[in-house]
Symmetry: C2
């Protein structure tokens, strides 16, 4: 029986750059790539954020799983809780057959976009303030550079 790790290893030989679909990742590969621990990835699975295939007990991650993971981490960087991230991920794969579901999906998308735009406004203002501080400091440094005092 061919081991999973060897499968992952062979496929990684084929593609050092992880870009062909069909690629399979081990938990260690993903944890290295995204600089998180395997524990974290398993934790996300417990929380229902990723559902990798299994070969026996060993987890097998597809390119889709990898994308999903990077999506989760981006969500975290943006300050969303795992619960929120799970909801957002679900928006991508809710049932879109019914008229009612479509409307609901649209509504939730709009709400989330509004939230994101508020966040963007916050961020822009925040950036502006720090640019200003930096500009003041730069000016002051220039002044001092010209001044004979180089304390």
């Amino acid at each position: 029986m061919i081991s999973i790790m060897s499968v992952a290893a062979i496929s990684s030989v084929k593609t050092p750059t992880p870009r062909d679909a069909q690629r399979i990742y081990s938990i260690a590969e993903l944890s290295r790539e995204f600089a998180i621990t395997p524990r974290t990835i398993r934790f996300y699975e417990d929380e229902g954020l990723i559902k990798p295939r299994r070969h026996g007990t060993t987890r097998l991650y597809t390119v889709g799983d990898r994308t999903r993971l990077s999506w989760i981490l981006r969500g975290k960087r943006l300050g969303f809780s795992l619960a929120e991230i799970r909801e957002l991920l679900d928006l991508y794969q809710v049932d879109r057959t019914g008229m009612q579901q479509l409307r609901e999906l649209q509504r939730r998308c709009q709400l989330h976009i509004a939230d994101l735009e508020r966040k963007r406004a916050d961020l822009d203002q925040h950036i502006g303030e720090f640019r200003e501080v930096e500009a003041q400091v730069s000016a002051e440094l220039k002044q001092r550079g010209i001044d004979p005092e180089k304390t």
Copy 2:
């Protein structure tokens, strides 16, 4: 002896809109305005994020304190931890007399700005994706609206 609450009350009579400097806020006022609990505000004080004056044991918040608080909350919305927020707040009032301190301040500003810009890129991509989903859903809804099936 005049009570603090009455002081706050009187000043609030003078300015229902909180816009003259000299204004004093009670903890309850701020907690209402920002929709957080007094406990939260006290906690931020324990963590060294705000340092209100005191009249006896009672906390008195100035306009500056209020600004600081709104700054903290914006930081939180952007996904920063309280420890990070404290550091950032400190950037506004570090000693800027020495050349060395100025350079250090500049460096930290630049680092933070770079971080913020990464965050902004994340956010833009995130928004883009959700706009796309929304657009697809809208299109689908339009289709169905035209279609005689109105399930």
